[in-house]
Subunit: 409 residues, 2 copies
Amino acid sequence: MAVNQLMSEIKTINGGTITDVKGFKAAGVHCGLKRKRLDLGAIVCEVPASAAAVYTMNQIKAAPLLITKESLSASAGKLQAIVVNSGNANACTGQQGMQDALEMQKQAANHFQIQQDYVAVTSTGVIGELLPMEKLRNGISKLSVESTSDAFAEAILTTDTCTKEVCVELMINNKKVKIAGVAKGSGMIHPNMATMLGFITTDAAIESSALQQILAKATDETFNRITVDGDTSTNDMVIAMASGLADNEKLTDAHPDWQIFYEGFKHCAVALAKMIARDGEGATKLIEVQVDGAVNDTEAGKIAKTVVGSDLVKTAIYGKDANWGRIICAIGYSECSINPQAIDISIGNHQTLKNSSPVSFSEEAITAYMNQEETIVIHVQLNNGHGTGKAWGCDLTYDYVRINAGYRT
Amino acid sequence: MAVNQLMSEIKTINGGTITDVKGFKAAGVHCGLKRKRLDLGAIVCEVPASAAAVYTMNQIKAAPLLITKESLSASAGKLQAIVVNSGNANACTGQQGMQDALEMQKQAANHFQIQQDYVAVTSTGVIGELLPMEKLRNGISKLSVESTSDAFAEAILTTDTCTKEVCVELMINNKKVKIAGVAKGSGMIHPNMATMLGFITTDAAIESSALQQILAKATDETFNRITVDGDTSTNDMVIAMASGLADNEKLTDAHPDWQIFYEGFKHCAVALAKMIARDGEGATKLIEVQVDGAVNDTEAGKIAKTVVGSDLVKTAIYGKDANWGRIICAIGYSECSINPQAIDISIGNHQTLKNSSPVSFSEEAITAYMNQEETIVIHVQLNNGHGTGKAWGCDLTYDYVRINAGYRT
C-alpha cells in the first residue's frame, strides 16, 4: 500500500501524550539537581511491557546506559518503568557512577514495586560530576505517577526551551492503537545517537524483538538524521515500551498492519526529531535538507546530514543568505558517490543551481522566504540514482556561542 | 638521527620569505576582483622547477585545480610560475569556468614568456561567480615580479587578517638550502585539503616525484590537521617548487640529508598551518591538541582533529571553560580505537582527567592559563598504544557567526 495512503490512516492526536496510551502513567518532581526546575521523572506501565532501545555510538557511554543495556538483556526485553534525571549526566564518573546508577535503579524498583531489571535508568546534563545520591533517593521516594505527562516532559529537559511531545492513533486489526513520544535535546546533538533522550509508548501488542526492528529502522531515518552541533553525546538513548493493552493480534513483520504501525511510529519519531532540531541551542530556524537521486537511501541520508551539519551552511541560513556554494561544498565533502556536474539545488521553491551551474534567481524572493518561514527547506537533486533521504538541523547563531561558552557540560 | 638533533640544525630565518629562495620572485597587484585590496599575484622561477602539489579531497573541485593538475601531469612535474587570484574561487562555473582558468594560464604564460603547462593557476574566494576576465587580463599584464613577497602574500588573502610566511635554512651536502612558504586561509577550513592555499619554494635540487613524497607526508601531518569550521573547501591546494639552484646533490629518499630536508619542510608546513588555524574567522585563540598513546599515528591525528573540530570544545575555549567533558565526548565519537576507561586529559599543564575519572584541579589556575596564553594546548593520553599526533584549530566565537552570516561564498 502506498505510503501516502497509509499516512492518511494515521491520525495525529493534538495535545496527545505518552500517558494517553493504555497502561502508561508518568511523574516528575524537583529533587535538587537543578536550582528550581523539575529534574527527576518516571514513566511507569501497569504491566511489564515489551521494550526496545537504541544507544549512542559514542564509545564513552554514561553509566546509566550501561546499566539499562544490561537490564534489558537480562529481562529478555521487558521493562516496566523508566526513571530519568536531568542536570547531571552521570558520565565519566567511574565505578562510583556505575554504583549510583544501580542504586537509582534499585530505589525506583522498590518505590514502584517492580523487579529491578524491569527498570531503565537514564540521565542527562553535565558530564563528570557524581550524582548527589541523597537528593536522588529523596526525589525517587516522592515520585507519584499520574495520567498526565507535563511534569515528566519538563523534568527531562536541559537547555531545551520547550517540551516535545507527539501522539498518533491508528487501527491494527480493527483495534485502536496509540503511539506517543516525548523527547529532549538541545545541544551536543549529532545523533548517532546524541544527547537527546526519547521515550515512546504504545499500547500495541508486539514482541520486544519486533519492536527493536521498528525502533532501529525509525531511528536511522529520524533521530540519526538530526544535528545541532556535530557533537555526538555520551548519553543518548531512545526507549520504546509496548503495553499490549490495545489487544491486537501481536505485530510481527508478517502482520498485514506492520507497515502502517511502522509509519505511525516513524511519524512520531520524525515529529520529535524535528522538535529537537528546531530547539537546537540558539536556533531561530529549523532546516530540512531533502536529498534525491543519490546512489542509495543511506548515502542520501548521509549527504543530507552533512549539508545540514555544515557550520557555513548554518551561518548562511542565520544570515538569510541563499548561499548554494556552501551547500554544494558540503555535498562535495560528504564522502558519498556524486556526479559533480549533475547537481541541482533549490532553497524553498527557488532553484539556484542546475547541473552544478548557477541559475538566475530572485534574491529578494529567497530572502523573503528565509525571513518568513520557520522551516527552511533545502532540496538537493543529485541525478545519480534513486536514493532519497532527509535530515534536520538548525541555524548557527550568536546565541549558540553564548550558551556554550558559558555552560559546564 | 633523533628529530630533536635534526631540528637544531634547522635555522629559522625571521622575516624570511619565498623570494629569499634562490631563483624565485613574486608579484601582486589589484585588478578589480576586490574593491581596493590586492587580488592577483604570481610566483615566478627563473628556471623550470621541480614541482609537486596536493589538492582538496572535496569531489567538487574548482576549475583552476583541474587545469593545474592536468598541466603538472603534462609537464612531467615541472612548473615555472604560479598565478593566483583572490575574491573569486572560479568554482561551480561550468565550462566557462574551465575556459577562463585556461585563459588565465595562457595569459600568464605569454606575459612571463613561459610555456603554458609550466604555469599553475589557483583561485580563492566566492563560489559560483564567473571570473571577470577583462579585469584579469589587464591585471596579468601589469604583474611585475620583484625580490619581495609582500604584495603576493597580500594578494592571495580573503578573510584572513594577516599574511602568513615562513622561511628556514639548512645544510644539504654542505650547501645552504632554503625552504620557505606563504599561505592563506581563514574560513571553510578543514583540510582534507581546505580553502587554504599554500606555496612553498626551495632552492634544493630534488626531482618532482621525491618532492611529491615530501609534500604528501608533510601535508598529512600539518595542513590536513587543521580545522576552523569543519568545511572542506572546493579550492585547496598546496604547491611546492624546487629551483635546484642550491646545487646540492639531488635529494632522494636515499640521500643522507633526506630526513633533515623533510624536517625543514615540515617545520615550514607546521608554521603555516598554525598561522592559518590561529587566523581562523573570528578566532581569539589557537588551539593545539596533542594525542599520545593511540593505536597508531593515523588514529592519533584523527582523534586530535576531532577534538579540535568540536563546536562544543571550541566554544568552551572561547568561554575560558576547562570543559574536559566535551573533550572526552569528542574522543568518544572520533571512531578510533580507544579504551574508554584509560583516558588522561590535561589543559596546559593542568591535569583534569586521569583514567577517565575527574581529578581535582584549580579552576582559577586553568582560567588564568586560558586567559593569558594565545595558544591553548590540550593534551590527551590514551594509554592504548604508541601512536602520536597533533592537530590545530581555533575557538568558535561570535565573530565567526558574524563573519559567516554575511559573507557570500
